[in-house]
């Protein structure tokens, strides 16, 4: 019965659209042609859904389409730089426009009350969905950036034939260590390097967990048949490690990348000599 009341909106679709865009312009939420198209599609789909669904609006196929559309519009608006407030304003203005038309076509106050209650319920639900879609769009961006950061933050550098170095910058956590370990081991296999230098001068702090991760990485490299040198141990890190009672004696540690490289040269029986100047 209520839906029959709301179905009258379909006949006034064009008027609804005009009022809606007017309100949107007044509140300053519009951005031109693209929005006009979206609004037209939404208004048409929404009013048809109201006209067609004769039982309750929940779970009906027609409304699923409308919901999909509004989610799409919300995330696309989010990407175009609208604030969540403007996004919500978009649907609220639609509600205002629809209410205005309802008040014109339904003269009976009690019927009008029922109809607008229903309309509010439907549109409020959709407003919440736009918020969710907006948040999800943002979260997707964040998670993509996190992936990207962890991807580019573990560069494995071949410093010499048979020596690879991996400078670690930023805090080491379990998931990051996993990536570091995998990249390093893969690179060792690919290049056939027998020495890996792990430079931790960019790691702000070493706690027992980070040390545990480092020890694991070193053990894994040893299992592969390569030697692992940890370099860039700063005085504060040395202090914390000893205070925490972490045993790093089984691991080759050097103060700087340069001294680690020197050790690596020694292990490969290489020698760097200064060229004699003639004359």
């Amino acid at each position: 019965m209520q839906n029959n009341l709301l179905s009258g909106l379909k006949e006034h679709e064009n008027k609804l659209l005009t009022i809606w865009s007017q309100i949107l312009q007044e509140t300053g939420g519009g951005d031109g042609a693209m929005e006009e198209e979206e609004s037209k599609e939404f208004a048409s789909l929404f009013t048809s859904a109201l006209a067609k669904s004769d039982v309750s609006y929940e779970n009906s196929e027609e409304f699923e389409k409308v919901e999909d559309l509004i989610v799409g519009i919300a995330s696309s608006r989010g990407k175009r730089g609208f604030s969540p407030r403007e996004n919500a304003q978009y649907l609220i203005s639609f509600k205002q426009a629809a209410s205005q038309i309802l008040s014109e076509i339904i003269k009976n106050p009690s019927e009008f009350y029922d109809a607008s209650l229903k309309l509010n319920e439907i549109l409020d639900n959709m407003t919440i969905m736009t918020f969710e879609a907006y948040m999800k769009g943002r979260e997707d961006i964040i998670s993509r950036q996190v992936d990207e950061i962890s991807e580019i933050s573990t560069p494995v550098i071949t410093v010499w034939d048979g020596i690879v170095a991996l400078p670690i910058i930023g805090t080491l956590d379990s998931s990051r260590t996993q990536i570091v370990m995998e990249n390093l081991l893969q690179q060792i296999v690919d290049t056939g390097s027998s020495i890996a230098i792990l430079d931790i001068s960019g790691v702000p702090a070493v706690d027992s967990l980070v040390a545990q991760h480092l020890i694991k990485t070193v053990s894994a490299t040893r299992l592969m048949g390569a030697e692992c040198i940890i370099s860039g141990i700063r005085p504060e890190i040395a202090q914390t490690v000893v205070h925490l009672g972490i045993d790093l004696t089984g691991i080759l540690t050097k103060a700087s990348l340069a001294s680690a490289l020197r050790t690596a040269f020694d292990m490969l029986q290489l020698q760097v000599v200064k060229r004699k100047v003639i004359g």
Binding site: Q178, M181, E182, L185, Q186, I188, V189, G192, S193, S194, K216, S219, A220, T221, R222, L223, M224, G225, A226
Partner: protein, 133 residues
Amino acid sequence: MERIPILKMGDFLLVTIQVDLYDQLAENLESDLINTISKYSSKGVLIDISAVSIIDSFMGRILGNIAVMSKIMDAQTVVVGMQPAVAITLVELGLSLNGVISALNVEKGMELLRSKMHTSDNEEQDYDDDNEQ
């Protein structure tokens, strides 16, 4: 019954594991290998596991056992070609395979065995020193 071939190369034995090991196969390999070492009085064993994608704690122990047993029989064991994923799994399992020497590939493993042979020849007289390691 399926067996893993053990090839003799001079003083060394070469074992290439081309299939995923199951428990029985690994146990057979262990006894076969020890018998072959004693038969040829080999000085070194090279186990190539580059084709093995799964090593569980049992296999890890078998590898460790082989290394210790051959050490007692005066043969050095080198495991070569471990895949990164296998190494990570072993470390996560807490098995660092102490006593097993690793090398990246067969070439480097052979080099390592030869150098070990060389040093052990030189240090024959100070045997105590060698034992401590």
